[in-house]
Amino acid sequence: MRQIWMGVALGSLAIGLVALIAVASQDEPQGSNARCMVNCHGDPDFKDNVAPGKFRSLYVDYEAFKNSVHGDNRCTDCHTDIGSLPHDNQLADVSCLQCHRQGNVAGAPTARKPWQYQNSVHAQARSQGHKDSPYCTDCHGTHNILPASNPKSTIARGNIPDTCGQCHTDVYARYARSTHGKAVTKGNLNAAVCSDCHEEHDILPASNPQSSINPQNVAHTCAECHSDKSVMRQTDAPIQPVKSYEDSFHGIAVKFGQLQAANCTSCHRHHLILERENPNSPINAQNLDQTCGKCHPNATSNVALGRVHVVPSEPSAGIVYYVAQFFKWLTLTVLAVLFVHILIDLFGRLRHRRAEG
């Protein structure tokens, strides 16, 4: 009798082991994730009745999850408030920052400083009760998060305008018609997308002096690309405007806090930036008098004569270059002549003192 019981025990142990090995060798949900998937979330019809007649799908596409950046994580790594099954119907929002924080040991990437989201306009709006304001998952996705390097990712350069445009529909429409938007559509991923000007996680309102789009910082933000020769060469865009602006009355005035002075966007607009040749562009020769006239009421079509962004030290500045060169060489010559003149005077004094002494 005892032997029979031993046989049953060994047999069930062996069956259990085989079953475990079989489960472990499967491609499909394994480990603790299996319990979530097999019983509930693997069923495409699994849903939650949020309101009378309104349902929310609770299905998780495990295939997409396995391909995501978090494919090796357990469900409970993010859904940390699940202790036992079945779990509560109302789970807390997933806190991405529990891993994506500075100095984490989980190896979660933090290069883009995701915690800065907490200061952003989006987080501020959320804390003020605007539940539509985006959380991490609205831009990055949920179970299907892909790295920015993957062209299918919602945060791949080429897809960023579409991602932001889900909510910012009017801005998206204008951006799509702009020289930046058209270039991105054509596949030039060097052209500016939303996050190049607005930053990624620390999106701040223009009124914040720290913001990349604060009037004081606009020129610097545009200069990140527009002073980069290698980027600008691809589109035949000049890099002089950056230096020219910095040395201009506008640039200096803004630098010293006179924010009513023009910055890049005052003349070029921001979302609907158009190239000079476009008749709808504010910097088209036909429209310059109106553009300058926004601040300088006396502007006439005269302002379209000559170049706007001149760098006096470059021949492209024309007459300004020659005037600047004339004064440069005149001053250097006068400096040298007067210096020699002083030396001769001192030499003469020394000579005569010695001769007389």
Partner: protein, 253 residues
Amino acid sequence: MVTERSGQTVERMNRQLRIQHGLLMLSVILLVLTGLALLYSGSWLGQALITLEGGFEARGWLHRVAAVLLIATAIYHVGYIVFSRRGHEEFIQLLLRGSDFKDWGAMLAYDLGRRERKPQLDRYSFREKFQYWAFIVFCVIMTMSGVVLWAFPALFGLLPKWTFDVAIAIHSGTGTLIVVVLTLWHLYIVHLQPGRFPMDGSFWHGQMPVERLKEEHPLEYDRRVAEGSIQPLRSEPASEMTEGVEDEGGERT
């Protein structure tokens, strides 16, 4: 060098000239400091100057107030030349002549040992005349280009945009040149040269020792002695230096 043993002085600048020079000095120093602040606003020097001048906007106002002072001084100076006998006489003496360039060459030759005798200079030598006329040219250029920039809101639209860029280039270029000439010519000759360092006080009290008048402006010295307005210096050997100069003067007469 000049010794001031006799204690006898002559008036080099009367009150009118001292006041005009004072106004010019004040306005030019202010213009240079506020102008350089803007020209070098990208460097620590410019930023320190702007802070010192009470901020960006205050710097602009200070520059324009100083400009008005300079223009007013220039107008007053023209009035002084036209309407005052003394001003008229001074101006005639300040007119450039061919002999000034000859004197300049002779002075260089003398310093370099190519010439034995020092050129005999009058009340206003090439040293004073060159800077006087250079400053008149500078004032005209700076006033014209400055007015174009100041009146920008009214002129914008009348003039094409490049004229303002040219005005900026002229204004900053001439401004830099003025600083160079002011330092290496005017300040060196008047204050910094050996024997005068660190400062010559005649712009304040208007007086010049007769010994220096004799050394640097011998023709005026002779004229004043002849008309009896100063006592001729005793030919006592006050120093080795004046002895040398006096010997030369003796040769000439």
